[in-house]
Subunit: 437 residues, 2 copies
Amino acid sequence: MTTPGRQMHLGVFVLGTGNHIAGWRYPGAAQSFEDLSVVQEIARIAERGKFDLIFLGDNLATEPGMHPSFAARFEPLTMLAALAATTTHVGLGATSSTTYNEPYNVARAFASLDHLSHGRAAWNAVTSSGGKAAENFGRIHPEHDARYEVAEEFVDVVRGLWDCWDDGAVVRNLETGQYIDPAKVRTLDHKGRFFQVKGPLPTSRTPQGQPIILQAGSSGPGLALAARTADVVFAVVQDLEEAKAGYVALKSRMPAFGRHGDEIAVLPGVMPVVGRTEAEAREKLNTLQGFVNTTNALSMLSSRLGQDVSRFPPDDLVTELPLPDSSHGFARAMLAKALRDRMTWRDLFNLTGAARGHWVICGTPETIADTLQQWFEERACDGFNILPAYFPGAFDDFVDMVVPILQERGLYRREYAGTTLRDHLGLARPRSRLFAS
Amino acid sequence: MTTPGRQMHLGVFVLGTGNHIAGWRYPGAAQSFEDLSVVQEIARIAERGKFDLIFLGDNLATEPGMHPSFAARFEPLTMLAALAATTTHVGLGATSSTTYNEPYNVARAFASLDHLSHGRAAWNAVTSSGGKAAENFGRIHPEHDARYEVAEEFVDVVRGLWDCWDDGAVVRNLETGQYIDPAKVRTLDHKGRFFQVKGPLPTSRTPQGQPIILQAGSSGPGLALAARTADVVFAVVQDLEEAKAGYVALKSRMPAFGRHGDEIAVLPGVMPVVGRTEAEAREKLNTLQGFVNTTNALSMLSSRLGQDVSRFPPDDLVTELPLPDSSHGFARAMLAKALRDRMTWRDLFNLTGAARGHWVICGTPETIADTLQQWFEERACDGFNILPAYFPGAFDDFVDMVVPILQERGLYRREYAGTTLRDHLGLARPRSRLFAS
Ligand SMILES: Cc1cc2nc3c(=O)[nH]c(=O)nc-3n(C[C@H](O)[C@H](O)[C@H](O)COP(=O)(O)O)c2cc1C
Ligand SMILES: Cc1cc2nc3c(=O)[nH]c(=O)nc-3n(C[C@H](O)[C@H](O)[C@H](O)COP(=O)(O)O)c2cc1C
């Protein structure tokens, strides 16, 4: 047992039908992402495992053939708000697009969630890579780099709005009848290239001061936005050495923005398939893979790679492929892995069906804990974003079998030390910059 | 005791610091609209009183001198979602603007709330009369009638999106692996004057089929929108005969849209101040009025009338006043009452401070029940939107003293007959119009 030192952070990627594309078919698995009791159960397990946060992705378009949890789901902010009322510690993170929203609305919703949850809100700022969303908003989808230019300003406006109220502005003086001290509320008066936003929000300074910002982009502009603004970064990994290089690359960008590397927690996505024996784990994964439907998996791989891959004979080896602008971290990590491991197209689309391009580890609680410990200690990451293949069973397995080993080894908290997500991440509550002087 | 027949509907207008501008100063009153436990308590009282719905207003701008509950508050959809997790029957209604939102986002949030709450979501479609919101969205505030033109199309798009999934589209066939039947999901392909929205939503058909639509506009275009699309209409009243005329006027517009008058429940706002004796009730109201701060009340009246009224000597009688385009139901009802009752400007701004222009009734449980019964039976309304002066006490008073009398008289349910808001309102669950043929 190591002496307690640097501590891992853990998040869970919540999808009602499981992260595996066919997870809902696993015996005993939940089969809906539109059932509050399912996500409440996931949140309960997360709190039992002392997780830092639960995370909900989002996109603004759907097709019936998609991953079941993407096809029919709750809207993330309403769902997290419902969970705020039935949980006490776990952080609540959701995706909102900087391309298809107004900063005032996003700032307000997350400020409200931060109040509702007593300081547990986190916003995953994404630029919406798909492009299909445009058709639901009567818009033309902007180019990759243009989306990030908007995102940079968008995040600043949101943070500025969060700063418009100073602590202590709501005085509620029963004697004088003064409710708010007007000297502690300011307008933002933002006039930028893309947005003009006066402010303030109709929401006082939130428990965390600033809700947490998550980021998951891996292009140059994506990493720049993360290095400047994010508190937590989700990474896509398939290989230890690549992950270490990515970790250093991100953290070394931070000093240019006056930040220290410790101010971002890098959490790669990983799907753990846990068995009491190696054979049992392998058997579970085989069962899951046996449920994968070729059409679905092919269409997910095509969308991840940004091009139709059904033209390749499934049993041919994967070859080098030009990746279009719309591709992202998944495409690069998966293609590199396929070439390295000499995979066929069939292997690759099966892998994508499993964890959507995220890393899959299969083994006993000990071997999985060993791997996570190695990645953490060799600074490939600061913790993990766990993607249970199905719910609740696969998440129970991780929390009940792997987490205790990490705790035993002094790598992970046994109890929450605080109540806010900032507390869990070890980040101080910032003062409003508008009132700091 | 009358035989049970036509039944009243009751809503409650939720504001954390009370509907009275100084309600938070009343001994024992809640003092925050950013405290989940306060609104959870309000929701519990509403369910004890078998209320049809709780309702949250909203606007998209703030100033520290505003009504405390308007100045610092939760965002309505996140707040209702939190309440969805801790209530079982009461309807959950919130305002979203058709001027400062995208129909796709609004449709989705209310669809999500309808799933989370198992069929209790209601959307109050407003056009945002203030104009201040424009500055938070880098926009010019559109004119009154132009806002309603947008609203007409906006509501249609939202309803169209709610219709894109047929019942039974989510098949979850464990044998075949088919999750969704693609024949039961359609695009909307809306191409209108203001919006182009392809659809579908990533949310299956909701428990209510269509969430309930609330409307509160009282101009010509406002009434037209309500007559065509609303299930519940909030009215502003000060006088029985005027209310009866307004009720007939709205319902008589409905046949032109192929609708029957019973398909809308008209609920005027009323602030009941209940005492065990007339003297006690009067004393309560005086205490509340004694807390009103002249500046706040003047600025609320000015905003209600759409012009600065501080120029009038407070003890002069109110005189006829030209009302600008931006004024609305409140202005007309209040000015008429002031002229009728020969009020001074001071009387009028005190009245506005009390219930923001809504009707105030003060008396014993019996006299209040008598008045509500008379209004209901003479078809001035189909029920009431209750505005407790402060929480929880003034709402407890109404639920524990007045509701039992209404029940005793056979005017109001003793138990919920169903679980959805549609059930409470006696409205059938519609089939999707996209699949009806
Ligand atoms: C764990 C994880 C979660 C993500 N969640 C979302 C999401 O919810 N919605 C979305 O549009 N994109 C999501 N993405 C995609 C990224 O945010 C980003 O948009 C994409 O990688 C393209 O950006 P890039 O070009 O900078 O790599 C996610 C990525 C990762 C790794
Ligand atoms: C009970 C009630 C609640 C209302 N709630 C809101 C609200 O939350 N937000 C808002 O912008 N307007 C609200 N209004 C204003 C109306 O929806 C409407 O915008 C206003 O009356 C102007 O429309 P009109 O010109 O058709 O009368 C409310 C009105 C009433 C009577």
